[in-house]
Amino acid sequence: MPHRSVDRRRVLAAAALGRTLDEPGAVPGDGELLQSVTGEILDVSPHLIVIDTPDGREERLVIAPWATAWRGEAVAPADLPPGAQVIIRALRSGRVVDRIWADITRITGVIQSVGSGSGDHTMELYCGPHRGRRTVVIPYRASGRLRVRHPQFEPGYLFDAIGVRENGVAQARLPATSQPPYRWTAVPEPPPGYSGAQSRISGTATWSDAFDHDEQGAAYPMLERSDTDCQEAGVSCAGLPYLALGSVLNVRNVCAGRTSVLPIVACGCMAGRFCDRCLECGTSPRGRIVELSATAFVELGGDLTKGCFNARVGLG
């Protein structure tokens, strides 16, 4: 069946069911609003950073004295190289830099093959029907750290790491989670729903760099397969209700106390395979309920290098 614009679905559903239309964006009232700014570094000094945004504008931001940066490891903002792609968490209407992540990438998928030999490993991953395959290099110096939380470097097991892009190659640096002990096809069943669906569901929210630049949206695992042409959707161990592309989620970062209204823009079929918990502030219930774009994750107060936050998600 042809799809019309998924944005229009929200309007049509609201008209049919008499709902009010919530505009996507941050919900004010949870302290100072955070803004995310993405782009390529043109110039950087200890107090000022100049970036070229994807829409061609030149942005000049003041670097706060407490600001920190990450590019494979913690670095001083002034040490970031020109040409690096950055995501900036900014305060004061997006004018003051609070935190910078440079060339950061996240590699989430199913291990297909692992290169043999000593030294650096090359790993081939299947990242879902929409994201295809990716190759990731695991440098020797990071392999010990990754193997502690990913003991199974074998085809069929899930892999989730945070790294940097260097010369177009993704290099894993940090494990984003503890590897699930099951193969990707053997996701545990959700707990039985004893008293109907809940209006708010708690679990883990993660991020992905598979979204477009500056896209404010989320990928959700529990979509009908016939609606999304995705035979791997509809799997989750969190007991999620079925929603659709275009549905609007109310995502709350329980750790930072921030809330955003975000549309579902992609199928989170790979996120649904992870039955892990987030330990950002206390222990979350198991299961990834939503995968956010990097900009949405940053504006909700998440730290990209930590990979997740404890979330509470509802519809609209």
Partner: protein
Amino acid sequence: MLTTIAAAQLPVLGALLAAGALAKVRTAMNESEPGALSRLGPAALVVDRWRVPALLGCAAGEMVLLVGLMATGHSLFRWGAATFFAVSTYVLWELRRRRPDVGCGCFGEVSAIPVGLRSLGRTMVLTAMAVGTVWTPPVPGWAVVAGLTWSQLLAVAGGLLVLAALSPEIEEAAARLRHRAPCEQRPLDPATALSRLRSSAAWRSHERLLSSTEPVDSWRELCWRFFVYPGHSHAGDPADVVFAIYLSGRHPAVRVAMVDAAGRPIEIGSLQESIPVSA
């Protein structure tokens, strides 16, 4: 008296073997939940690639015994059934010792709860029943079923009651029926929703406003499925007609709205809106 009771257990054994074989075949063939076999005995005792063959082999053995017991009165099948249940008792004991987390798999994935004393007791009772049939007259099982007397019927009922009391699967099946996943979490076929829409009053009252009877978009949100059709308003302006069908209940609610190209709802007026919910 004892011979009557023992002979009456032949249909009971037949029923259990048939149920076990069918449930195992269904579980082995059902690929909706990969990895489920790793939690079922005896599949849990073998390596991954042998799990389906092990379950199917077990089901085949049960079918052979079932056919042998019901079609012939040969003692080979009666001894075979006794041996089968005795070996099953040993396997369950071993499973309980080596993998206390897995279920017996006796009735496929319904038997996913860990092996307990009741499951063990059931295979012991079945072994005793099978041994008992060895000393009964060599008549085929179908002949016993055809010629059941009142006393034998009582013995059959008694045997089934004992087995039911020793079957944790009954409680599991009842719990699954009672705690069925809510509508929002169940996969539901869009074709069913479409046929419910086509038979609704909302559809009949709006059909003349549609430019095409083929939907241009459809999606599901919680327990509602939406269908969008191109159409026109009463004034003749182009508009999208959206139907929302509740996915639960025999006569589900159907809601309808018209939205213009700018996204503004168009007043439908006094048109009949929906059938009352009976869910």
